[in-house]
């Protein structure tokens, strides 16, 4: 179970596999192939790794799945920040298990991406070099214990909205990974809400802590659904391929409609003076989203972009000698077995 990946493999091997992944692009895609593929997608058939698929479909999936995997991995950091300071042993155990689950999600997702012909080591390199994106939400700091509650409630809550439809994604390995992940995310969401509830019903100081966390996490959570539909580059094609089932704005609205009443139940105030119930539409309407902030965080200017990447790089660099030792040891054992 505890194999080591990454640097232990000679770079040539990684490169070779990588090229293998891109091989289909060498053969021209005929309109007939594309039509047959779209017919299968339209018929809700699952596309499996060995099936023919358009190169753009493959690349879209690699980009989306790996970004998702990176988000799980970077997402371990803000909450991991409170493992050593969790205020009870039960909370400590639950938080360790939660952060561990997120690492597990990263692992399933890297495996799903690997079925498309790209190596995990390559994807990790892209994360560490800063070339790959991950969810901007994890570039915000966790300043108090209430942030752990707010992340579970809002960030895992938003992740569920995004991910439940992906359980029906046309690409089989991604859909199956997501079924497993969604079960755990809803558990995380309930745990986070329970932390918020305990704080909201606690002392004055605890209530203030909970409100402050909501103030800081509300808008970043709203932005987790990505740019609004008019500005989103990838939506239409992804919907045709049934990688996406709903637009960013549709998912965002679902999240708002579910979450506002939860905040009311907690007795907390959503930090949006323009928030109102639109009777005719049957939805909550929110004030304007600060897309400049979103773009700035994406470009690396969020409060913790530097710290998050540095932490990943430091862990990876400090582990170099360990990965080398594991590879050398495995090679010695293999040589002994062959002798």
């Amino acid at each position: 179970m505890y194999h080591i990946s990454g640097k232990s493999q000679p770079p040539m091997y990684t490169q070779a596999l990588d090229q293998q992944g891109r091989e289909p692009s060498a053969a021209p895609e005929s309109p007939e192939q594309a039509a047959r593929f779209q017919a299968r997608v339209d018929a809700e058939e699952k596309i499996e790794p060995k099936d023919w698929m358009p190169e753009a479909y493959r690349q879209t999936l690699i980009r989306q799945i790996s970004q998702h995997a990176h988000s799980e991995i970077v997402g371990m950091l803000p909450e991991g920040n409170w493992i050593t300071r969790a205020p009870s042993l039960r909370r400590k155990a639950v938080l360790i298990a939660k952060v561990q689950d997120e690492g597990g999600h990263g692992m399933y997702l890297y495996s799903a991406a690997e079925t498309l012909g790209v190596e995990r080591a390559t994807l990790v390199e892209q994360l560490l070099s800063g070339a790959a994106k991950y969810s901007s939400i994890f570039n915000y700091p966790t300043l108090t214990w209430a942030d752990v509650g707010a992340i579970g409630w809002l960030v895992d809550g938003a992740a569920i909205m995004n991910q439940v439809p992906i359980c029906r994604c046309s690409y089989g390995p991604y859909a199956r990974a997501m079924v497993r992940i969604c079960k755990e995310e809803s558990f995380h969401q309930r745990q986070g809400f329970e932390i918020m509830l305990t704080l909201a019903r606690g002392s004055e100081a605890q209530r203030a802590m909970a409100q402050d966390a909501l103030n800081r996490w509300w808008w970043p959570s709203i932005m987790m659904f990505g740019p609004s539909d008019v500005a989103s580059r990838h939506t239409a094609q992804s919907m045709r391929w049934k990688i996406k089932r709903f637009t960013n704005d549709e998912l965002r609205q679902k999240f708002i409609d579910v979450t506002v009443p939860q905040a009311q139940f907690l007795g907390l105030t959503i930090p949006d003076p323009q928030l109102r119930w639109d009777e005719a539409a049957g939805h909550f309407e929110i004030g304007p989203i600060d897309w400049e902030e979103f773009q700035a965080v994406l470009r690396g200017h969020g409060p913790c972009n530097r710290e998050r990447l540095e932490a990943r790089r430091a862990g990876h660099a400090a582990g170099e000698w360990v990965r080398e030792a594991a590879a050398a040891h495995a090679a010695k054992r293999a040589a002994q077995a062959a002798a």
Binding site: S88, A314, G319, A325, H329
Partner: protein, 252 residues
């Protein structure tokens, strides 16, 4: 010391060792050499925090003054902690963590096997559960000890140095005091000296596999289980206890 006091003391030693080690392992989460090790270390952390909760809850109940697992974990000062000094040693690099873990795992294999036949049935049940976990911990730590010891020249040198550094904390494992003797007399705990041969044999076997040298025995000035700690423990507790102490009486 009365027999009930000795038993509470004894349970605190076991519980505090698990808690402090669990806290150290928790520091790794998100920062390990690879994702698999991150998950593996988190697993270990979870097991140790779980053991600590069972042991401290039981100690609190026996003590009978209304302290639960959290009061014991968060509201005692360093000198009241009774963990082995080995458990509180800093994580250092991955090799330091593996050596610390392996020394404790090899020890707990003997200890929990003995305690699973304790005349104290509740302790025996906790020990039996912990023994299963410890077998898995030992597979993890001895596996890594072998990879690092018999890996590259650099990893061999690094992990040998970790071993030389941490070996001085093993003396405490087999040095009985009045509490240990009272527990052995009551059939609650083992004679510590009786555990040493099997531990020593396992240490030698694992070291051979890892191509590492066993350091010479060293005198030790720490008695963690009597509350005499290294400088590291109070820092660990300052971090761990800060929040509950900042809002006394709050529920979390």
């Amino acid at each position: 010391m009365s027999a009930p006091d000795a038993r509470v003391r004894y349970l605190l030693r076991l519980g505090d060792t698990s808690l402090v080690l669990g806290q150290r392992l928790g520091e790794w989460v998100g920062h390990a050499p690879a994702l698999e090790e991150d998950l593996g270390l988190a697993n270990l952390a979870l097991d140790f925090v779980g053991q600590a909760r069972l042991l401290l809850s039981y100690a609190g109940e026996l003590e009978g003054s209304g302290r639960d697992e959290d009061a014991l974990a968060f509201l005692r000062d360093a000198h009241e902690f009774a963990n082995l000094a080995l458990a509180e040693q800093p994580n250092g690099d991955f090799g330091d963590t593996i050596v610390r873990q392996w020394l404790i795992d090899t020890w707990q294999l003997q200890l929990y096997a003995a305690l699973s036949t304790s005349t104290d049935e509740r302790l025996a049940a906790i020990a039996a559960k912990s023994l299963k976990e410890t077998r898995y911990h030992h597979r993890f730590s001895s596996g890594w000890l072998a990879r690092l010891g018999d890996g590259t020249p650099e990893s061999h040198a690094r992990v040998q140095a970790s071993l030389e550094n941490l070996w001085r904390f093993t003396g405490e494992l087999f040095a009985p005091d009045a509490v240990d003797e009272a527990m052995a007399a009551a059939g609650i705990g083992p004679q510590l000296a009786g555990l040493e041969p099997a531990w020593s044999a396992l240490i030698d076997a694992d070291l051979k596999e890892a191509t590492l040298r066993r350091p010479a025995p060293q005198p030790f000035p720490w008695h963690g289980k009597r509350g005499v700690h290294t400088e590291h423990l109070s820092h660990l507790l300052a971090e761990m206890q800060q929040l509950p102490r900042s809002l006394p009486g709050a529920r979390w």
